[in-house]
């Protein structure tokens, strides 16, 4: 089953490599990973979709992400009300005679034609994974020349938050602080 994690990381060089390397090393299979800036310049946000056997795998992924010093927060939003979006650009083989047909399809999917050339058009479609898959299926017989997708990005609705399974991240326990701000060990 696909699990979706929202991960906040420090915006520093090499952090994407650390995250990707972790998934490789622990043998987790990334379905998609989208990364970008947030409202805070020092923080980047990743939406990671992973194939998991169950909640135990999800716990492992969360706990391992927290082992990376640059990871600030991990939420599993799989079971939460959330908006997820993927964006695809699809270049379709289409001379003038087929443009109307493609236009109709695009309208149904609330997609847009963003480029028209002599024998091709580029369709831009945004939405859930299922919607984009549906669009692709319909365009395939027409002739897809090239396609690119951003991978999913996700945001929980309203005040909902994702699940945080990792002890230490949940606020159940606590930590000692000394005067210098360093924990005592």
């Amino acid at each position: 089953m696909q699990y979706t994690f929202i991960t906040l990381v420090e915006n520093k060089p090499g952090v994407l490599n650390r995250v990707a390397s972790l998934f490789r090393r622990r043998n987790f299979n990334i379905e998609s990973l989208a990364v970008g800036r947030t409202e805070r310049p020092e923080v980047s946000r990743m939406t990671i979709v992973v194939d998991c056997q169950g909640d135990m795998d999800a716990h492992k992924i969360e706990a391992n992400l927290y082992k990376l010093v640059n990871v600030i927060d991990v939420q599993d939003v799989t079971q939460q009300p959330a908006v997820t979006r993927d964006l695809a650009l699809i270049k379709v083989k289409a001379g003038p005679e087929r443009r109307a047909e493609i236009n109709n399809l695009a309208e149904i999917f609330r997609a847009r034609i963003v480029d028209v050339a002599a024998d091709s058009v580029i369709v831009e479609v945004t939405g859930t994974e299922e919607k984009i898959e549906g669009m692709i299926e319909l365009l395939r017989p027409v002739g897809i020349m090239e396609m690119v997708r951003t991978g999913q990005v996700a945001m929980t609705r309203g005040a909902y938050e994702g699940t945080r399974r990792t002890p230490g991240a949940t606020g159940g326990g606590w930590r000692d602080e000394d005067e210098s701000g360093l924990a005592e060990y």
Binding site: H59, W174, R175
Partner: protein
Amino acid sequence: MKLSGAEILWECLVREGVEVVFGYPGGANMPLYDAMLNYPIHHVLVRHEQGGAHMADGYARASGKVGVAMGTSGPGATNLVTGIATAMMDSSPVVFITGQVAAHLIGGDAFQEVDVTGITLPITKHNYLVTRPDEIAEVVREAFYIARSGRPGPVLIDICKNAQIEKTEFVYPEAVHLAGYQPQSHAPATDLEQAVKLLEKAKRPVILCGHGVLMSGAEQVLQHFAVKTNTPVTSTLLGLGGFPASHPLHLGMMGMHGEAHCNLAIQNADLLLAFGMRFDDRVTGTLKTYAPNAKKIHVEIDPSEVHKNVQVDVPLVGDLKNILTDLVPMVDEYDHEEWMQQINEWRSEGDQRSIMAWPEDGKLHVAHLIKDIWNATGGGAIVTTDVGQHQMWTAQYYFLDQPNRWITSGGAGTMGFGLPSAIGAWFAHKDQEIWTIAGDGGFQMTAAELTTAVQEGANVKVAIMNNSFLGMVRQWQEFFFEKRYSAVNMVSPDFVKLADAHGVPARRVTQPEEVAEAIEWARKTTGPVVLEFRVEQEEAVYPMVPAGAALDQMLRRPVRQK
């Protein structure tokens, strides 16, 4: 005041309380070595960077402080890699400092350029590439904090040559701010109550004492807990010394070469209390049949270890010492007399098979030699080992009543670890007796560090158990490959002459009646000493849980007829 990046590094190391660094100079770290001369930190010139890494590791394990090892860029850094992985697997706090080519050359395949942060990413707790001098102070402060806090581990700092040379204002950061790194030190009270409930119901509980007991300094409180709740304790390889071996509640080592009664106790337990251990495959055997009837309480500082190998009933994430301190007043005295009786029956059966029950047969047996060294040193020496059969025999027969005297490569199983880690331990405790037990194979991997020991006057006693075989591999070939010995016959140099060439006093021991005198001679001789014991060649370590077998499916030593 403006200082060079190199000077800032040493200023920071002095403030971290560093007394000694183990390293090797080269092109990309020469500014660091030049600045070093002005600071009161002792530098040990090693003969190979791997040796330096193990020395820093040994120093860290013996002292409880952060060890420091240095190397230059490229091959200097890659030679450290085995030592870094060793420290990572055994959660040893070591800071590695490597030189790197100048920042503007990075990515251009410059002379001695290697992507060190890339290579060490999966074998460090964290690592840094420093390209500017003004980053150094903060990075060093963070590196030491990360290395020693939470679950300790190695941190690597790769410093570009220009950052070592360029000058900047030196500001020492008073605190460390790491948004995402917040190791939890206490578990919530509700979780503690759940653990107590399991303990109240248990009839056959066993405590699994892991390395975490030593790392968090929980030896005393563990003893309170075990005695109050009347619960027997078995140790992992790295947990030895966390609970006194002579204590009536101590069972011994568990696992692949653990004692039979420990493994039987685990398999028949109804509650496991796993304290600072990670259910490594070497202690569980096959997971399918591991402790099938036991509830499991797991006290662990690293959340990613919880449910990793074994799904547990009550995870308590936090510092072991804090959690046990919180638990002791919550638990009662419980009666486990029947359970102890059962375990002791298993134990006495094992005693009959023990190699210690063997009559004198004119040959040298490693297990007997370990017992002899234990007797001679009163069990109080710091003992480091290499990896293999001698390591298991030392774990089985050098009984430890005190913590932090047992230094061995557990998770990584790194051959060549013994001698350098002993030298490192000597720098932590120059007043104490230090022995390293090595095989003929492992000793040769880092034998060059004998010269380092001479140069530093390190008072370490090297006992080479020479069976002219790679013994553990030979044992596996005997058991599991129909005795088809492949690449395990080993020709060694004359170790006495080799030691002599290094200026190290040495003796060869071939007869049982020479043993006691040779050990005493080594103990009385100041400085490094080598003893070579020509031991029985085809001896096997028992008991043995074959890889992939259940923990109680042990190959046992046949009872020898007297």
